[in-house]
Amino acid sequence: MPLKAPRTSMPAQDPAERSHNFKEVALGYTAEMAKTEASRCLDCKNPLCVKGCPVEVDIPGFIRAIVSDDMSGAVDVLKQKNNLPAVCGRVCPQESQCESKCVLGIKGESVAIGRLERYTADWDMAQTFKAPEKPEPKSERVAIVGSGPAGLTAAADLAKMGYQVTIFEALHTPGGVLMYGIPEFRLPKAIVQQEIDYIRALGVQIEVNAVVGKTVLVDELLDTEGFDAVFIGTGAGLPNFMNIPGENLNGVYSSNEFLTRTNLMKAYDFPNYHTPIKIGKKVAVIGAGNVAMDAARTALRLGAEESYIVYRRSAAEMPARHEEIEHAEEEGVQFRLLHSPIAYEGDEKGQLTKMTLQRFELGEPDASGRRRPMPIEGDTVEMPIDTVVVAIGQGPNPLVPHSTEGLELTKKGNIVADEETGVTSRDGVFAGGDIVTGAATVILAMGAGKKSARAIDAYLNAKRDQ
């Protein structure tokens, strides 16, 4: 195999067709494609790709197994470190993680590690389900608050160590952002469900409809419910609004509400499912992160004739993944860059009809290194609009932090926790994922869950030896 062989492309649904359905966009490798791509890996002695993976998957190991037709071996290697490989293979920003470190990427194209991970995980799911081996049980019980990527990972790793683990989830379905946030067309919910079933098979109990902070308190989990440690992975689930005139008009959604209705409540299948969603002909999504791309693409699939991304900086500063921006463009999402709304207006029924956009230009780089958007005095434009989705980021939900004694918080309300261990100011309480870092990625949350599981094990071992 010559070094310069290009990476194997992955088949995808045609943009014109897919922009009207909720089926998965990327279709995945065939066995032949996977083997061709896997054969490009140089099997480095000192694999840098592994260093780029927040959960330290033995990447050359599982790729080697694919090359030698040992798919169950590939699965075993993958699952040693990653509890949600079918999810990660789909939603990780590999270009800035494992694949960014691949030596083939220096002069050519890096190995498509994410696509191979996805292929391996999907192969595994197609097999007859075999229950994972149970380890020697330990007597300690650990409570996990939140069943998003951080909580699921911590729970699975602790269960693999033999701990008795219970996850408390506020919604009626576990999965966090994997279920309510990321759309079906990027991450089919049946796949998330299978990954969660695997974690249940490890012995993890999941209690849904349990709002920690309301139904039960962290203090009660430790003091009266008999848990020896608690991991908080409640994410960044508090939507930010811009506090501009007219933002409470009908037709203005937070991205969380828009995506929760669509994904978790399946409003795209209304009235078969009973949760409604209202979509106009012209939809504007404010923001340019991955959530904004998800919302803009969802709007098209719900029947919007025009879907806009409205962003106050330029294309170069858009925080979304390249692939997501490309997919959005292919599907017909339009971009109003260097614009941001300053007011909304509605009709006599309170329905949004129009927004006023302020135009911006770019100034000097700010603290984040990105050029600062500066409003151009007096330069505003009006735009007729029926639906707006505000996707300018999320803050930490205060329910758990504010109902727990002795938990140190940042000014923004995030939990202060050690980056390597998740240790908080409160003995026996660990935290990780977006509740600590602010809104970040699925894989970083999983990495935090993994590190906390290790730290909880060390904490409980030390306690046992006392």
């Binding site: 009626h172 409470n248 937070s254 329910l399």
Partner: protein
């Protein structure tokens, strides 16, 4: 699954369920609410906690069959189960000894006002309760309300029970004859708005419990946002109780009507399915 241990029809459209939910019963306080999802296809709807029995591990929910989901809920019987019940949600009522308190329940709003009135009575207040509805069929819990009130007054629009008129008419006469320290009003948005306008001139603090559209009920979506004075608040976590004199009721009512056409569509769709004779269509 949450089992319905008792069902009682409180009128032709108002239904009471006592539901097994020990964890919620253990924590529930007056003023709080729950979110209910009937089955896999259902939406999540908020209902206030009308009562709870910590020992029996049950909570009481009361609803009026007004739309698709509440009509579906009404078909359940004792022994059936509700798929999801989550709570207690929201901030509890601020119960103190204020002196003389008027507690007003309009229609199905009688249910949530009951535990508040009971707690206010226990806290030493003189409690004057006013319950009202369009007609007698929509009134319930007269005895329960009377038992925890110093005085119970009734109003119906058509005069089929109590005085003929609105709860605000009764409230005015109460305020004319005695010094009222605080008012609680729970019911339809128009009623709460009218009560707030009645007490506004005298400045008697008036607490209302808002019932906007909700999805998660835990503060993650802002679907329930309301305007309180100059601030936007999330009713599910900051409320549902607010100072009635600061609430933008017109905005709240407009926001409540956003899915009216979809609501009708859901009812129509379900009707088609039933008469279509092709069995379950979802």
């Amino acid at each position: 699954m949450y089992k319905i241990v008792r069902k009682e029809n409180l009128g032709s459209s108002v239904v009471q369920f006592d539901v097994e939910a020990p964890k919620i019963a253990a924590k529930a306080k007056s003023g709080q609410f729950i979110i209910v999802r009937l089955d896999e296809q259902s939406e999540r709807i908020p209902l206030t906690i009308a009562d709870y029995d910590r020992e029996a591990g049950t909570i009481t929910m009361i609803f009026q069959a007004v739309g698709f989901s509440t009509n579906a809920l009404k078909t359940l019987e004792a022994g059936d189960s509700i798929l999801d019940v989550v709570g207690p949600l929201g901030t509890a009522s601020e119960i103190e000894n204020y002196g003389t308190v008027v507690c007003i329940g309009g229609g199905v709003g009688i249910a949530p006002v009951y535990p508040i009135a009971r707690d206010l009575k226990e806290a030493g207040n003189k409690v004057i309760s006013i319950i009202g509805a369009r007609n007698e069929d929509l009134l319930f819990w007269k005895d329960k309300m009377a038992a925890i009130s110093d005085e119970l007054l009734i109003a119906t629009d058509d005069g089929s029970a109590g005085i003929k008129g609105f709860v605000t008419d009764v409230l005015k006469s109460v305020m004319d004859r005695e010094n009222v320290d605080r008012v609680w009003a729970i019911g339809p948005m128009v009623m709460m708005k009218a009560v707030a306008n009645t007490t506004r001139p005298s400045g008697v603090k008036t607490i209302v419990s808002l019932n906007p559209i909700m999805v998660d009920g835990t503060g993650m979506c802002g679907g329930c946002r309301v305007q309180i004075g100059t601030e936007t608040k999330f009713a599910c976590v900051d409320g549902p109780e607010f100072d009635g004199h600061l609430v933008d009721f017109d905005l709240a009512m407009r926001r409540s009507s956003v899915y009216k056409t979809e609501e009708l569509q859901a009812v129509e769709h379900d009707h088609q399915c039933r008469i279509g004779g092709i069995g379950k269509c979802h």
